[in-house]
Symmetry: C2
Subunit: 232 residues, 2 copies
């Protein structure tokens, strides 16, 4: 593990409240690797031997069933993923692949569990993180069950707008094909949904999104903190 990676890891709230000694124990056994784009990191069903942390680049979490694949989430720096499998010592429920060249820290699950038992600050942080993950997953389910695909797209755009400091012109950060899968629609359906949004004050050409009538978009999207706020 390179010394330069350590400050990156310390950005994580997951490691903020643990004793320095335990943090050292944890990263001693860690290793870091830089992967090219489109490399499979983990495969669902495999056993969770490492907690993964994206230090740079980005990672897609996805799942497959019966020859269908769906995009579950995008992990951006600095975040951990598959914490639950690590803690439970269970199989991964999702696969992961790099979307671009990415630097990944791998912490042996066995060490994570051991430090978790010894360091109550870390344990509390794990709980907070898992509670956040769970609540995000509940929000996902609500988003899927309560909204049409057009409404999901509209809310996705509003969230993107919020992330980009409320700019009215911003770039889509993921390929449309993956966005479609993430929103549970086909690329064709997304393409048509994008066209439909013109009447709600949204122009998208290529990856550039322009919101020309936020009120119209909000009226369609009806965002709710209980679905769309990642912080609550």
């Amino acid at each position: 593990m390179r010394a330069g990676d350590i400050p990156e890891l310390q950005k994580l709230k997951l490691f903020a409240d643990m004793t320095p000694a335990h943090f050292q124990d944890l990263i001693r056994a860690a290793y870091v690797q830089t992967f090219p784009p489109h490399v499979d990191l983990i495969s669902e069903g495999d056993h969770g031997d490492f907690l993964h942390i994206v230090v740079s680049g980005s990672v897609e979490l996805y799942s497959v069933w019966n020859h269908h694949e769906t995009s579950m989430a995008t992990v951006r720096p600095v975040s951990s993923f598959i914490l639950a499998a690590t803690i439970k010592n269970g199989p991964y429920l999702m696969s992961a692949r790099t979307l671009e060249k990415s630097r990944i820290v791998l912490l042996p699950s066995i060490d994570v569990r051991e430090i978790f038992d010894r360091d109550s600050g870390f344990a509390r942080a794990v709980v907070r993180e898992l509670a956040n993950c769970y609540r995000s997953a509940v929000k996902d389910t609500k988003n899927l069950k309560l909204r049409s695909s057009l409404e999901r797209l509209a809310n996705y755009l509003i969230r993107s707008h919020m992330r980009s400091n409320e700019a009215l012109v911003f770039e889509l950060t993921i390929k449309k094909r993956r966005l479609a899968s993430f929103l549970d629609m086909t690329p064709e359906n997304l393409s048509r949904a994008i066209k439909s949004l013109r009447s709600y004050g949204v122009q998208i050409d290529g990856t550039r999104v322009t919101i020309t009538d936020m009120n119209a978009l909000l009226k369609l999207a009806k965002p709710s903190p209980l679905i769309d706020d990642y912080s609550t």
Copy 2:
């Protein structure tokens, strides 16, 4: 709190590994209440002041957005619910109502968080529970995104069959209207899906389910431990 309720609570894995003294602290402030059927216990958006535990009866978790309602889960004894909101000290993401006459234990969130900080056995149990909740929610999302409504119904029936000791004849434990909502379909669509399942060796009249050709059903449902196993 009645003395008779305490052994019920001790059935919960959540409280299995904590010191007896801390358990006493926790239940000292608890109170128990018996609610009639169809009573709202909590409403999404409200603040999570109590960890709830179903001791008898059953509780529906559901969510509403834009005048649509969807059934998220059924909580049966003995289980806690809304642990994540309690720990995060955040708003509930789901509402809860009794489905039948139910006995509910209410533990003040503030005490739960306090004991969580003091008792590492309890903290570990909370982590396990949250990891399970999260993984269940991920499975839900996969179920919704990767399967058609007919496939979801087929897998639901197989899970029910498993729960009833693999009996080939068993009863539906929830009303069809709620099952439809849980499976993200309309009652009409469920009714037609049930009819379609006849060609896959399933007869349903009223609440009685008879599986006459498990192989045909399995071939349709293609259950996967990474979606359908609640234990992994």
